[in-house]
């Protein structure tokens, strides 16, 4: 993980970023000096070109009436027709709205949950307890949504454990977590948070261990209580990493989690649960409308790209994180 300069885990990129301000050596000199590094870079570059750049050719599909039997070369170009169709279709607004609400909800709530959890774990003295809790909470991250989804459907059923608890405490009819359009988005956001907060906390915990313990000792000597230490040492100590991750997450605001929705959604919650990815899947793959779904995918990617640039700028500004 790349860290901001005040932290002991100073990242090499950050160092280089500052070093870059000095006189730049010529390219040939750099090459001669570091040729081995460049050679080691080749396999990665080949993979990148092969799997990330080369497929970009497929973008032309978005501007075509693509027919598999005619291929990329033979399909007719239709200009922006597919884009016009996307933005004028009945579902355009709900799709973007649902995607945005779910994705932003996941980022905000997920970040808060991870952060709170990390702070809590950090305060625990028992090493064994810490380890056990961390392992248990990290585990769900490694299970696929297909498995978790099956469990969720059981847990959230009308007669499932969660409803049993709620009904026994508050009474009333069981809650339709998966069948009520107004609740479904929360179900998605919270279940995703549950799955990911343990893993998300790992980074914060790493940052927390980076805080110089002498600061705590000094504060304790000065009579600061736990709360004061949290406020004046812990939070400032990890603030840069929090800001950094928040900025980097901007690139995800149109990524609401395809697999999860596909597993949890049902006809009752199409109105709030249908997202861009599920639409692309349905129209693009099941209905074979490659052009339309590519166009929508492109729109999403462009928005995502702009947001990533923005987040990079913000990360550089607020967390001093730079790659180039």
């Amino acid at each position: 993980m790349i860290q901001s300069p005040p932290s002991p885990l100073v990242g090499p990129t950050a160092v280089r970023a500052r070093a870059g301000a000095e006189a730049k050596p010529s390219l040939s000199k750099t090459l001669r000096q570091h040729w081995l590094l460049y050679v080691m870079l080749i396999p990665a570059m080949v993979l990148l070109i092969l799997f990330s750049f080369y497929p970009l050719i497929g973008i032309v599909i978005a501007f075509q009436d693509f027919r598999p039997s005619r291929g990329l070369a033979g399909s007719e170009f239709v200009g922006l027709k597919n884009f016009v169709e996307i933005f004028t279709m009945r579902e355009a607004w709900p799709l973007f709205r649902n995607t945005l609400v779910i994705a932003v909800g996941k980022i905000v709530i997920g970040t808060l949950a991870s952060l709170t959890f990390a702070l809590m774990v950090h305060e625990v003295a028992s090493r064994i307890f810490k380890r056990v809790v961390q392992t248990m909470t990290t585990l769900p991250h490694f299970l696929s949504w297909v498995i978790i989804g099956g469990v969720m459907v059981q847990v959230l059923a009308s007669a499932g454990p969660l409803n049993n608890i709620i009904v026994s405490i508050f009474g009333g009819p069981p809650i339709r977590f998966l069948g009520d359009p107004s609740i479904f988005q929360w179900t998605v956001i919270l279940s995703d948070t549950w799955k990911g907060f343990g893993f998300g906390a790992v980074i914060y915990l790493a940052a927390l261990t980076g805080i110089n313990p002498e600061l705590y000792e000094a504060a304790a000597v000065d009579g600061a209580n736990r709360w004061a230490r949290l406020r004046h040492i812990t939070l400032p100590g990890i603030s840069s990493i929090v800001i950094l991750l928040a900025c980097l997450n901007l690139g995800n605001v149109l990524n609401a989690g395809f697999e999860q929705i596909l597993v949890l959604a049902n006809p009752l919650v199409y109105s709030t649960g249908d997202i861009i990815d599920t639409w692309v899947y349905r129209r693009g793959l099941l209905q074979s409308e490659y052009s339309l779904s590519t166009a929508l995918g492109l729109v999403r990617s462009v928005i995502g790209f702009v947001l990533i640039l923005l987040s990079y700028y913000l990360a550089g500004r607020f967390a001093n994180y730079r790659i180039f």
Binding site: R67, G71, Q287, S288
Partner: protein, 605 residues
């Protein structure tokens, strides 16, 4: 909706359903066991082998038999010491050099040591008797298979032949990406094939023929092939409430309530998120009111109208909504697909379900596990006007297409294969030893796929016939004819009544042991469904969707499914059905209706 059905059928019918159920009858096969490299006499009736003989290129050897001693196929087929009669086989003459088809396969099978798709008894048989070999280009299944096929097409390198349906097929034909096989088909397909596959007048040919040109070989789904549902009722529950067999929808409601009130089962009737579907469906309730959501039917004015927007649907949704409110339906039914809902059956949570004939398999298992459990069939409930109805599967299915520019010899070889196997299917009693393959599906080579254990049969862990059959494109519905299932079942049911000494070993395979009895029950259900074809409600729109229709299809279906389910669970009032009808028309329903009626006009003239 039609496309939806088709994709479901191709996706589940053979491999999943039949394999899971361990059923054999429906699953059939392409590859037929031919016991033989023994010298062969042409059969007396309708020998498929004769027809192509005259048409084949001069390069071929007339009726040459493979040398028995070197034949791998012979070595395996001789493992059947219990055969106590000698069948006659249709004369065949293998292509020389062999015709090699490049095909995709489904994959996912555990082969016997050293064997594969291209190296196993079926493959040996095919090569030795017909001179046809397969070259498997890749293995994938379901949607992935569809995508890979399209990728191959886009790259200009499609397989020699593949199965296509719906809008995909429309596009392929429109783009001239598949071969026009009219001439070769007319010349090479045997009269028997043409007759049995109802060429050219059968509904199954509608997707394959454009302006008199044949663009592929149509599948032939029979009536009740897969998705025709019938009511399975817990007779032990009925006995406990002291009720009589329900006749009307009101009777059904009363009965389900009694089941629940007396604590016999948790819910009552099984349902899943698709209300009208291929198992755990509620289609007979709609049928009782003379409507069938998802289907196009003839209106009094002679046009085709979409049934989902008819007023009677609202009435039925009201009934189902009440059932749901009364707890007669699983409160979480909307989270469950067809298969997920099955758990309610096996867990004893329901007393009534509408499912196809093969669902008897699971019911057999339940009855076997608990002798107190007793299931039986219940008649289709009647509505207030005495109507009954179920959704019928219809005969329209996918089409086997050939890539553009394929060598004519390959098309001809594929048809020769079809001729050959059609003969085996039609005259299967005569060839029953290998007919076994097509009719019991899971086993046919003794000591290879099964062994005799006293009077019962034990399966070995060698992959089943499906491993070869499903994919290759030579699937059961293609090789077969609509009434095949019915004919075979009829014959098999007859054997159960024959005295033991009149059965030869091969017949006994079908009638001895627990599996055979279970199989018999399934066949009885099939016969009942077949006998009630008069209540079957067919889709009058039989063509594949046009591209324009395909565009609106997904959204229309989503809207319908969303509204219907929201009404049932009470998220929306019953009256929102009227808004749905308006919205349906506005967002594409009118386009759809116009397209359907354009087609209907063109065929009814």
């Amino acid at each position: 909706m039609k496309r939806h059905e088709i994709s479901k059928q191709t996706k589940y019918s053979r491999r999943n359903v039949l394999k899971i159920m361990g059923v054999a009858t429906g699953g059939g096969i392409a590859t037929l066991a031919l016991n033989a490299c023994a010298p062969v006499a042409a059969p007396t009736t309708a020998p498929a082998g004769e027809q192509p003989a005259a048409e084949k290129p001069a390069a071929e050897q007339p009726a040459a038999q493979p040398p028995a001693r070197e034949s791998k196929w012979a070595a395996v087929s001789k493992l059947s010491p219990k055969a106590d009669w000698t069948p006659t086989y249709p004369a065949t003459k293998p292509y020389d050099p062999p015709v090699v088809f490049s095909l995709p396969a489904n994959g996912g099978y555990q082969w016997k040591e050293g064997e594969s798709y291209t190296n196993n008894p079926y493959a040996w048989m095919r090569e030795e008797l017909l001179g046809i070999k397969y070259d498997i280009r890749w293995e994938a299944y379901g949607d992935v298979r569809r995508q890979k096929l399209k990728a191959d097409l886009a790259a200009g390198d499609p397989p020699d032949m593949w199965v296509s349906s719906g809008a995909d097929l429309t596009q392929l034909i429109a783009d001239e990406a598949v071969e026009d096989i009219t001439a070769i088909w007319e010349a090479s397909a045997s009269p028997l094939v043409k007759e049995k596959k109802l060429y050219p007048k059968g509904d199954n040919w509608i997707p394959a023929i454009r302006n008199g040109k044949v663009f592929g070989v149509a599948f032939s789904y029979g009536p009740a092939y897969n998705v025709d549902n019938i009511g399975y009722l817990r007779l032990d529950f009925l006995e406990k409430i002291g009720g009589k067999m329900p006749e009307t929808v009101d009777d059904v409601t009363a009965m389900l309530k009694a089941f629940k009130e007396q604590g016999l089962c948790q819910y009552g009737i099984n349902a899943c998120k698709n209300l009208v579907t291929w198992h755990n469906s509620l289609d007979p309730i709609f049928g009782a009111y003379g409507v069938m959501p998802g289907l196009w039917r003839k209106a009094p004015d002679g046009t085709l109208q979409y049934d989902s927007i008819q007023p009677a649907v609202k009435t039925v949704l009201g009934i189902i909504r009440q059932w749901y409110a009364d707890g007669l339906i699983d409160p979480d039914y909307y989270t469950k697909g067809e298969g997920d809902a099955d758990a309610n059956t096996t867990q004893g949570k329901i007393g009534l379900r509408y499912s196809p004939w093969w669902a008897q398999g699971r019911i057999n298992d339940m009855e076997r596990a608990d002798p107190a459990v007793k299931w039986g069939l219940t008649p289709y409930p009647k509505g207030p006007e005495g109507k009954q109805g179920r959704r019928a599967s219809g005969m329209v299915g996918p089409v086997v297409v050939f890539k553009k520019g394929i060598e004519p010899r390959k098309i001809e070889a594929a048809l020769a294969d079809l001729n050959f196997e059609m003969d085996l299917h039609v005259n299967w009693e005569k060839y029953q030893q290998y007919g076994h393959a097509s009719h019991n599906g899971t086993r046919w080579l003794e000591n290879y796929e099964y062994v005799w254990d006293g009077d019962d049969i034990k399966l070995t862990d060698t992959p089943t016939i499906y491993a070869m059959a499903d994919e290759i494109g030579f699937t059961f519905p293609w090789l077969c004819y609509p009434d095949y299932q019915f004919d075979v079942n009829k014959l098999k049911l007859r054997w159960f009544d024959l005295p033991q000494d009149q059965l030869n070993k091969s017949m006994k395979l079908f009638v001895v042991g627990q599996d055979a009895l279970a199989d018999k029950k399934r066949m009885d259900v099939y016969a009942t469904i077949y006998d009630t074809l008069d209540v079957a409600i067919f889709n009058e729109y039989k063509a594949p969707p046009t591209e324009e229709m395909a565009k609106v299809f997904a959204d229309m279906y989503k809207l319908e499914n969303e509204t219907f389910n929201a009404i049932v669970v009470g998220n929306q009032p019953l009256d929102s059905f009227d808004d749905f009808v308006k919205e349906w028309k506005a967002v594409g329903g009118d386009i759809w209706t116009a397209g359907v009626n354009d087609w209907y006009k063109s065929v009814s003239q």
